[in-house]
Symmetry: C2
Subunit: 333 residues, 2 copies
Amino acid sequence: MKKLINAPEHVVKEALAGMADAHPDLITVHYDPDFIVRADSPIKGKVGVISGGGSGHEPMHGGFVGKGMLDAACPGAVFTSPVPDQMLAATKAVDGGKGVLHIVKNYTGDLMNFEMAAELAAAEGIEVATVVTNDDVAVKDSTWTAGRRGVGVTVLLEKIAGAAAEAGADLAEVKRIAEKVNAQGRSMGAALTSCTIPHVGRPSFELPDDEIEIGVGIHGEPGRRRIKMVGAAEITALLTEPILEDLPFSGGDRVLAFVNGLGGTPLIELYVVYNELAKILKGRGITISRTLIGSYITSLDMAGCSITLLKLDAELTKLWDAPVHTPALRWGV
Amino acid sequence: MKKLINAPEHVVKEALAGMADAHPDLITVHYDPDFIVRADSPIKGKVGVISGGGSGHEPMHGGFVGKGMLDAACPGAVFTSPVPDQMLAATKAVDGGKGVLHIVKNYTGDLMNFEMAAELAAAEGIEVATVVTNDDVAVKDSTWTAGRRGVGVTVLLEKIAGAAAEAGADLAEVKRIAEKVNAQGRSMGAALTSCTIPHVGRPSFELPDDEIEIGVGIHGEPGRRRIKMVGAAEITALLTEPILEDLPFSGGDRVLAFVNGLGGTPLIELYVVYNELAKILKGRGITISRTLIGSYITSLDMAGCSITLLKLDAELTKLWDAPVHTPALRWGV
């Protein structure tokens, strides 16, 4: 294993320290329990929006803390749910008196620990609502989930729900919008290589030199099937068709097209995939009205990509376009 | 070789087509000769700023075309200089009557072809000035260069010179500022793995599983030496010390610290490196006043990073902070 790290057990804390030093205008990092909050938290009268999950998916979630997106993020160890103490501390830190939304990716550990934190927060008088993302169409149940996994839609949801909260929406309204994003978005990914967890030191799964995994999860969970390596056009079609059929998306729809790198794939390849995706959607009469292309929800050093499509209407488009200023996403400010 | 591509010989054109489709508000792509221009080019009365070089370093340079940065970029084949026809066509396309600055990384082919394009443009009555970046302190001469290679400083220079041109500076002034950035910036990189050029299909060089290359170039050119794999703290020190000694940087300096991924390295590792860099600079009394952390000048799928430090003064800081809106860098708008 060759990684730019020191002791594997210190990766998360050291990356957090780097983030804190690099972005003091945007975020503050608290330790033990670990969480990242907006430097200007809590904001009185604003709904707090928090998320969290295992580390190894950077910039998600800590890179999305800031104006117009998350108020706090709780990083667990690599591929390991954060503990309820983290979410409780973050919830209290961002509570501005209007309640707090928990954005939870559908994995068993995350669900359980966020639920416990929500109960503890409620016991302290903080109103908490929860939205669970489960946008991965690849498999019905998976290694770490009952039901579909939460993947790329989480990034879009954090931006859009964060914008709603920033604009002054109340907790019920922020939750409604968040649920709408999850309902209107679908994703699927493909792995060209495994990832390597630092404290394990060897690839999480074996993938022969001429095979790829279609429908992989962001922790390297098995997908739909392994196939012999094929070109970008075919891989893109294998990811896009199930997404389109599932919602379904249809002619006349306007979508946000999100082509995401899994950590070890360079941008030039993501644009090749995007080009194939655009051709497929054009052929179906679907209009791409917004795009996001880059590595925003990753799986350590895994080579591969995921595709997320989100059906846009005027409300979601306006919230997507609203100003955001975080370490990883910024516009309008 | 597993990459998200179709035929290797079509990678660059297909990625360009993807960029054109994804960012029609920002850029327009012309083919044969290939170049990317700002959608609102030419801008009358504004100095044009263009760059170019071999592909495989994305988002550089095409991802930096837009308001406040480049007016055009000329992509060659992977790791191959663009030809003079491209730079000539781009120069003519962005000429607003105030002249055009060519930003050229110091590689023999780029220098020669940009020089020829400048002569052809001059013959057509367009005033052209040229700045050459040569910030890589690793080696004096290299495989493809006489003198030092141009690397990370190029990204910062394109932003800062682009801001000066956007603000209305004349050609001599934009050139002066660009030369100042090159003079005040230094870089060095380390490879954990080789990259693989699509049409070659095998790694460009052999690097054993337990060795890294200190001082590598962005095409995989040899650096200072190979060493056994060590931790992020030691790698960061091995890159930073030569940078600090070379300019030199000293206590009291304010710098922009740029930690760059080479294409196959995830963000969590870049923050671990940044954390080490921040400790080293703090120990020297050097203040990090601006940061850029991410993959902005890459070497296809190479795992590794580079560090660039740029000494900032009030003039450069103001130009760095100025609004920019390109596919890869955006703020203030």
